[in-house]
Symmetry: C2
Subunit: 413 residues, 2 copies
Amino acid sequence: MAKEGADMTEETQFMIDTNPRKEPEHVESSGDAKEMRAVVLAGFGGLNKLRVTKKAMPEPQDGEVKIRVKACGLNFLDLMVRQGSIDNPPKLPIVPGFECSGIVESVGENTAGFEIGDRVMAFVNYNAWAEVVCTPADFVYKMPEEMSFAEAAAFSLNFVAAYMMLFEVANLREGMSVLVHSAGGGVGQAVAQLCSTVPNVTVFGIASCSKHAAIRDSVTHLFDRNVDYMQEVQKISPEGVDIVLDCLCGENTAKGLTLLRPLGTYILYGASNMVTGETKSFFSFAKSWWQVEKVNPIKLYEENKVIAGFSLLNLLFKHGKCNLVKSVMDKLLCLFDQKKIKPVVDSLWALEEVKEAMQRIHDRGNVGKLILDVEKSPTPLMASDSTETSEAGEEEEEPEGDNDSKERMPFIH
Amino acid sequence: MAKEGADMTEETQFMIDTNPRKEPEHVESSGDAKEMRAVVLAGFGGLNKLRVTKKAMPEPQDGEVKIRVKACGLNFLDLMVRQGSIDNPPKLPIVPGFECSGIVESVGENTAGFEIGDRVMAFVNYNAWAEVVCTPADFVYKMPEEMSFAEAAAFSLNFVAAYMMLFEVANLREGMSVLVHSAGGGVGQAVAQLCSTVPNVTVFGIASCSKHAAIRDSVTHLFDRNVDYMQEVQKISPEGVDIVLDCLCGENTAKGLTLLRPLGTYILYGASNMVTGETKSFFSFAKSWWQVEKVNPIKLYEENKVIAGFSLLNLLFKHGKCNLVKSVMDKLLCLFDQKKIKPVVDSLWALEEVKEAMQRIHDRGNVGKLILDVEKSPTPLMASDSTETSEAGEEEEEPEGDNDSKERMPFIH
């Protein structure tokens, strides 16, 4: 099967822009109103499966809003989609991306509340990484005036997920403690900020050493992801922590459960440990599934513990909870207006730089959110608030489990 | 090992009062202040392991309150203790029982807030089934004036457990739905009452048919425990339920998880399915442990579901959460004062009738709580609010898994 994958790679190679910078005509804004630029995933695998190309302009159906996209969020999940390391991977080719911000260009029937020209942020079930996207009005939210498009694209998924985990799934209250993996990532930074809205919450953050300087002030205690964080946490808080937020899975599940106080809640909201290299076999999801340690309910009973899973995208697109998410978004926008929370943008990338951006998130080089800036020309530019982090391609940190350095050289496949 | 167990039974037979009614001197209140009557468990196994005997009068240590017991609660867990079907069974002989009500007879040092003569209810880490018990003041609560001793003994464990599961572990809110197994039992009835304090909550109750007439008004939908309740619930609520409360374990865990809505919570708070007959091997706990289906965290992630375990006794006696329980008790006593909740007493039994009472809860004959009334003479008397239920020994319902009817005849071993 790995062999077949390799064959397929060669077969589809001719379709793929291996270096889109050589083709500036794709970079320019499309003058033809029937077409738009978009990032397209042509096959599951490495960075070379992505290219920017022109696609037919979408038009809004009943209940949909058409958005002229200004900025898109890039999440670790997008890497997993690229590799096919998710349950029910989409049919290809597809335009990736689950969130964006922009301006309403037109509306379908039954989209009360939205007008042409509205500045909005939105969830999309794929297709976000494009100049134009249509999505049901249920997934669209008006942006506050003081919010930039980049901030809006960094806001929706991370803050809604962080809020729902802390306050809907767990029940964060005064005096509690929270342990968060990937504390420097988009969700991690949102978690840290939301915890600071509750009095006397202790946040244990785990992140790569390279990020420590940038995020030290956002958490109470910061640990290197390469050290035995269990021992460190237990030294400070022998009775454990109230909430563990884990986007890694694997061995961290058992560790997280062990670290919980009685009545504590462990929440799995991602499985980025499933991504170990640049490419991944089609069987990796199933394999990872079986490798995860199962939990005995009777153990939970004896220890008074709670284990939860949280997938915001499934909640929105499979489980029909858009009204609940809407109410959460309202609360978050209040907190934003009160200047209690503010999305952290790591860096802005042109659509044509999606590979560099993906490499950066793969290498865990980001502090906060990576943004695809649809109107940006392909010259990397770091956001002002992330100057302490290194650029993609300059990473000192070893990507996990991929030992052939030729393979790991960014953008060369 | 089973053989050894049988041998031990014979060895210890001489210790046991097989028919305490023939020895009325044990029934009378003990005039000697240095001694008290108590139920003693001499070995793990059947009803014949229990007897009423005299024991040395306990005296309160530092921080303890000495209570002249009026009434004790009998829980399904007491059966599991008797059989040794729990993790870390106690050293024998022991006086069983985890909750009681009574009058403060004396207090140790550092028991501020309690005075001799106070009417109280209390949790005890074993030893409740006696005329006198000493327990830390942290586990003692003053009774409202309008509460009888029988009600108080029926209140603590069931209502605190039900409240904490609904409002601390899960987050019961307006419009939600709750499925509760053993809806006719003490916790089940407390759950139903607490659900009625929140607007528009749908309660799916599962109970033996024989209890349906007595509890029909307490729940929204009532199902026979012998039918496929999953199908019935899904017919009424295709999207599932928000909270499942399961004291049975076994196959109900997988069913409960399947029935959950996204963001729903399954709580395991007992494992009475582990008790299948009158007696049980010492290995039964370990065996049941391995038979329980383990839960994959990635499945929870994909389905946005929560699984929790809840053991109030571990929370109190192992996990040091007496302050949290105290705050919950305060809220419950407010609800009692407002006449929004009221413990349901199934029946009152003398200490010497503990075997009949245990047989009744084993046969799932009770509606609400079985109470050991310490001052009662051994003549069965049904509480006024439970006249529709049959007495122990007249059960039509088959006890599970124990097919030798001679074995099952109450009190004959």
